[in-house]
């Protein structure tokens, strides 16, 4: 059923107090390679519609909002759509939370997201991505084992009962590849997943080349020594994930649900900070990010928000519901975050012995507890004299115990929804090794 007919049905309902429809149309092309052999090509053209119905009511003197979200398949008949609305309306009686208002329409200044993917067809860009990847596949001892490349154009329309009717077109690209390296003993592999919102062939080629360098190092690596408590440098993806702890702790939902003690105007980084102080800004239009957005799922229009300044929480961020609960202007859900650089260059930070971990099996940052760690797939151990590649073993720690003395590099890195320091240094992290 077409969306206009669904709106007609909803507008005639007297048993609900509001509704929201999110319609997405995804056009996607995918290619799967083993070495350089195309194993499978895929495409899709999918329309999804998600309906949320709202019901406001009082119970024992308190005002509540009931809501329920259901999927309206494009192949549903009129009677199926009515049944889905009936069921969602019924569920909204039981799915209740403290009252909050729906978002009212505002003027959209920005109607397009920046992306060079709109300059050519999806198929052309897919070919350019594949070329950029395989351009780096030029080593005697190493090769790209396998590659998956996805490129989607997604048109989103958000409509609600108060008059919001926003549309946006965005692009999301994903690349996943495995590099192998063999130094005449055991062949090793490393895995990489990259998300991006615009095409940068040179950057993609460079990322593959870096993976080959890391794969070579892993092939030559020794077991990570049992260092006990040691100075540790995290590099790249793990830095992004670790700093996301502060993003979560600043979230209105985390605060309201009592998962975070963070208070505006107070340090979010603990007491007596002797290392670098964190500065974090949420950027809905961060260049190159596949999470760029003009409005969020509720229809809140997004803009840059500085949430942490010199280690002090400047303001919470949150969706319509939790912002209302905390009596703040809704910032909306913004996925991209930017962190400013630290005081020292990585060269300076590497002057004393360290274990630098550049690849984990899967780095874990628990945004509730602050626990972090993971198995080391590749690290660099500097004992004061020489630097050797190491792998195996693990690091572990808790950010709340270490945050008053962390050091951020001057060097910056862009990883899809993150732009910030490339390295972070802790002086005393537990390292399990052989």
């Amino acid at each position: 059923m077409k969306i206009d007919r669904i709106i007609d049905i909803l507008n005639k309902r007297i048993d609900i107090n509001g509704w929201k429809l999110k319609q997405t149309n995804r056009e996607t092309y995918e290619q799967y390679y083993i070495k350089r052999d195309l194993e499978m090509n895929r495409a899709k053209n999918i329309e999804d519609i998600y309906l949320t119905v709202y019901k406001d009511f009082y119970e024992e003197g308190s005002q509540f909002k009931g809501s329920s979200t259901t999927t309206i398949h494009p192949t549903m008949t009129k009677s199926e759509v009515i049944k889905a609305i009936d069921e969602a309306t019924y569920a909204s009686r039981y799915a209740k939370v403290e009252y909050y208002p729906l978002v009212k329409p505002e003027h959209l200044d920005k109607k397009e997201l920046a992306s060079n993917f709109k300059d050519k067809s999806l198929e052309e860009y897919l070919s350019l991505m594949v070329e950029a990847i395989f351009k780096a596949d030029d080593y005697k001892k190493g090769l790209i084992n396998s590659t998956e490349v996805f490129l989607s154009k997604i048109n989103t329309r958000l409509i609600n009962s108060l008059g919001i009717d926003y549309s946006v077109e965005k692009y999301m690209a994903e690349v996943e590849f495995i590099t192998n390296w063999n130094e005449d003993k055991e062949e090793i592999e490393l895995f990489r997943h990259i998300d991006m919102g615009e095409f940068d062939g040179d950057k993609l080629t460079k990322e593959v080349q870096e993976m080959f360098e890391m794969s070579k190092a892993r092939a030559l690596s020794k077991p990570t020594p049992a260092l006990g408590v040691h100075r540790v440098i995290l590099t790249g993806e793990s830095v992004k994930q670790l700093l996301k702890y502060y993003y979560s702790q600043s979230n209105a939902a985390f605060v309201y649900e009592k998962y975070s003690n963070a208070s505006i105007g107070k340090s979010i980084q603990g007491e007596k900070i002797i290392g670098d102080k964190i500065n974090m800004t949420l950027k809905p239009h961060l260049k190159g990010s596949s999470f760029q957005s003009i409005f969020d799922n509720d229809g809140v229009i997004l803009k840059d928000i500085n949430i942490i300044k010199d280690g002090i929480l400047n303001q919470y961020w949150g969706n319509q519901r939790y912002s209302y609960y905390l009596k703040m202007e809704p910032t909306g859900e913004i996925n991209n975050y930017e962190v400013t650089h630290g005081m020292h260059s990585i060269e300076k930070l590497k002057e004393t012995p360290y274990l630098e971990v550049v690849s984990f099996s899967s780095f874990q940052m628990d945004e509730f507890t602050g626990d972090f760690g993971g198995e080391i797939r590749l690290g660099w151990y500097y004992d004061g004299n020489k630097t050797i590649p190491v792998s195996g073993g693990s690091i572990s720690g808790n950010i709340k115990e270490k945050q008053n003395e962390l050091y951020l590099s001057k060097e910056m890195i862009s990883i899809n929804d993150y732009f910030g320091p490339k390295h972070i240094v802790f002086n005393d992290i537990v390292v399990a090794g052989n």
């Binding site: 495409a43 039981y94 009592k258 899967s362």
Partner: protein, 475 residues
């Protein structure tokens, strides 16, 4: 009761017509149709949510054979009126362009033509279980009752999230030779208490899964107090001193090891890519002789117990490790074509619009003969590991990353009550599996989680086993 989707039943004639039309151009054509419905309930201190399950979907994927390889197109709008348009879209969108064919960077893989056996069948699991109409009020009342009772138990409890999900899956698979349909359902329930002392936040997680969802609410009710106790104990937990220890793994951790440390490495699309160390160990010892490992949609009645997979291959029970010897991997159809082996019914998709890969279903170790109490008594100093947190595969190099929430200290054969958290297990997979010296009798399976391949392609899977005694590096 569990029943086949009316929608899919109504579409079968159109889908069959589309297969026939496309078969004029292509030597192989198959279409998988999916109609999955379900509801997800979540109750916490701040309210209740009832949404469609994240697994809800309705759509189709067509696979065709052209230029000696297979191409796919996924769509979710089909009627008699737009059949011509869909047919043309499939032809255009799956076409391997001249640009790719002439690209000096790439080559085209040459696959054999898939020769399917002729099979017709209609399968419904647990016909007698009523899953088509949920009593929302009953479920919400029960979840709220558990939440309200739980919040009275401890002042340290800042929140408790009680969840319930019920999903009905209907699928059809129609090709030149096969005409299959199936319906089954599963449910899960979870309880996650969040506790806080000062700035210290901790949580624990317990989940239950079943093909009969309504029995899960009672299980949560019976479990929540113990789960709160475990979360509270974590507030005073220490960090483990890194080292190699004797450990007892509870069944959820055994499952994590079976799944993450070993199972991913026997997914045979990894064999095709030369990404699996397991290939070197076929018919060789990879584990203690105590270890026998199964995978298969027919190997257990759990969340991944279907009749046919997403490529129309009938389910089976595969013995992957037999008494310590690696016997075989688990396979999708395309990988089997490349390896000249038989598919094992493990071709699974995240959804109809995603690619099918070799994926695990229900993966577990058989039970042994030991008593858990004897296993604990046998340890001079070590840990009892419980509470599956996360894991990551390393099929090529067999490195382990498995994280448990709780390590309970064992000293002189007794549990001391001292807790460490989180506990990261690392090491080399065969070293761990060969170190297994004791296994308890009872096997438990867990189906509340989802399994990814790399960092995407989430599917339902269950895993488990008995308690095992092993030696492993903790950090």
């Amino acid at each position: 009761m569990v029943m086949t989707s009316n929608y899919l039943t109504q579409q079968k004639s159109i889908i069959k017509e589309l297969v026939d039309r496309l078969s004029i151009k292509y030597k192989f054509v198959s279409i998988l149709g999916v109609d999955t419905t379900g509801k997800s309930f979540r109750v916490s201190r701040s309210g209740t949510s009832i949404e469609d399950s994240m697994w809800t979907e309705r759509g189709f994927v067509v696979r065709v054979y052209q230029d000696n390889m297979y191409s796919e197109y996924a769509f979710n709008e089909i009627t008699h009126e737009n059949l011509d348009q869909i047919e043309q879209e499939i032809i255009i969108k799956t076409n391997i362009s001249e640009k790719i064919k002439n690209n000096s960077f790439v080559r085209l893989t040459k696959y054999a033509l898939l020769e399917e056996e002729e099979i017709n069948g209609s399968f419904v699991k647990n016909k007698d279980i009523n899953t088509d109409v949920l009593d929302l009020q009953l479920i919400v009342d029960k979840l709220n009752q558990i939440k309200d009772n739980a919040l009275k138990k401890s002042e340290l409890l800042v929140n408790i999230i009680v969840g319930f999900e019920q999903v009905n899956i209907s699928k059809i698979y129609i090709s030149n030779k096969k005409n299959l349909e199936q319906s089954y359902s599963w449910g899960t329930s979870t309880v996650v208490p969040v506790v806080r002392k000062g700035d210290n936040n901790k949580y624990f997680y317990e989940g239950f899964s079943s093909l009969n969802p309504m029995e899960l609410l009672d299980q949560v009710e019976l479990a929540y107090e113990d789960v709160i106790d475990k979360a509270t104990a974590l507030l005073d937990a220490k960090r483990v001193t890194p080292g190699v220890y004797d450990v007892i793994c509870a069944p959820d951790i055994t499952g994590l090891i079976a799944h993450e440390a070993f199972g991913h490495g026997v997914e045979m699309d990894m064999f095709v890519k030369n990404r699996a160390k397991a290939v070197e160990y076929l018919d060789k010892a990879v584990a203690s002789t105590l270890v026998t490992m199964h995978d298969g949609a027919k190997s257990a009645e759990e969340v991944s117990s279907y009749f046919f997979d997403d490529e129309g291959t009938l389910a089976q029970d595969t013995i992957v490790i037999d008494k310590g010897i690696l016997k075989t991997g688990i396979s999708d159809v395309i990988s089997a074509l490349r390896l000249n082996t038989k598919p094992t019914g493990n071709g699974k998709r995240q959804s109809y619009d995603r690619k099918a890969y070799s994926r695990m279903t229900n993966t577990f170790f058989d039970g042994g003969k030991d008593k858990v109490s004897d296993m604990i008594k046998s340890i001079e100093f070590g840990y009892l590991l419980t509470g599956m947190m996360s894991g990551m595969e390393d099929p090529k190099n067999w490195g382990i990353q498995c994280v448990a929430m709780i390590g309970e200290e064992i000293k002189d054969g007794k549990l001391t009550g001292n807790i460490v958290t989180p506990v990261i297990m690392t090491g080399y997979v065969p070293d761990l599996l060969k170190s297994i010296t004791m296994m308890s009798e009872k096997v438990e399976l867990f189906g509340t989680g989802v399994c990814g391949k790399g960092h995407k392609e989430l599917v339902k899977a269950s895993d488990g086993g008995p308690y095992i005694k092993a030696k492993v590096r903790l950090g």
